[in-house]
Symmetry: C2
Subunit: 204 residues, 2 copies
């Protein structure tokens, strides 16, 4: 039996993940079967099951893949020497969302929306989603702490609360983009900037 | 044949909507069948089909029901004589979300999340969702215009962009509440208020 290289395995695995993503984007999570994924991937059933035992495992891999560049994104945001402003972090995050949404492999934000619904009735997907979302929100908490140090955000509020709101603006961006089709990183950032720079806004 | 009063019809209709909501909350949209709704409602199949032809129609009715008190909520927000601050409108909206989520008839925000996913593969649900969301976002646009008049928000930005962000904070609140379980109207408002009153935030 020929020795399968790591590179070969990794490439096959990715082929399956992309096939599953295509199926979920086209049909939704529920209608997608392992048979659909196998057909779409062009591999044998044995090959596919060699990598993933179930749809739930593939969804976790789609999430890993979609979020693989997030650490790097936030490293870049935090690397700047200039005072970090939440609006700049938000703009970078929104640009990133649109970049991955416009991937030629299909709009992975559509898979995200499916995963939200599925998580409410599927413990495996819920576990995947909560761990990913804690991680993502943790990045925004790091942004909040840095902004508090830099003097661009009120230092007297729990940075985790600030992270809840910053992270919390992303799903609404994703949904409006998919359902109403009229939001862009530019419009959303402009709306947020208007709120943030308003006069006489919010006495402590 | 006895004359069925409007009140009787309305009460029956509501009985079906509540039954369907219970089913969707427990099983999700996809697994819920008309037979489940009929069983849960305790009515005959003929009775249920006399009100609703399909699951899609019932979902629209669940949305109508969940949003029935929204106009009133925003009328209250806009009625105040004091300068309207976006943070106050947001707090009122979040309190409202939690109030309807904690209804004894079940957490309708779970049905909302199901509807987001379903909308991506179902034109009827998409049409319902987009019309509801345009309406909701329109309420936030009214808040933005009023806040701009009152001098609590930068008047030089399109109020529709401000509405995108204010409305856009709600799905992230709903998801974090359902999936991470640690957000409250208090924590979310505190995080937003910290961003809004921060010094040297966002030069125009």
């Amino acid at each position: 039996m020929p020795k399968v290289t790591d590179e070969h395995r990794s490439s096959r695995r990715r082929q399956i993940v992309v096939a599953a993503r295509t199926c979920v984007i086209e049909q939704g999570f529920h209608k997608t079967t392992m048979a659909d994924v196998i057909r779409e991937s062009g591999l044998s059933a044995g090959a596919v099951y060699g990598y993933f035992k179930s749809k739930d495992e593939i969804v976790a891999a789609i999430a890993d893949d979609a979020l693989s560049t997030i650490d790097q994104l936030f490293e870049g945001i935090l690397a700047s020497d200039a005072p970090l402003r939440p609006i700049d972090a938000m703009r970078a995050a929104l640009d990133h969302v649109v970049r991955i949404a416009e991937s030629p492999d299909g709009d992975v934000t559509r898979v995200g929306v499916q995963a939200w619904a599925e998580a409410l009735h599927n413990e495996t997907i819920m576990a995947t989603a909560t761990s990913k979302y804690r991680l993502l929100r943790g990045h925004f908490a790091a942004v909040a702490r840095r902004a508090q140090q830099d003097g661009t955000v009120d230092p007297d509020v729990d940075p985790d609360y600030i992270a809840q709101v910053l992270f919390g603006m992303i799903p609404g961006f994703v949904l409006q983009r998919l359902m109403l089709g009229d939001v862009t990183p530019e419009s959303y950032s402009a709306g947020l900037a208007a709120l943030l720079r308003s006069p006489d806004r919010n006495p402590a």
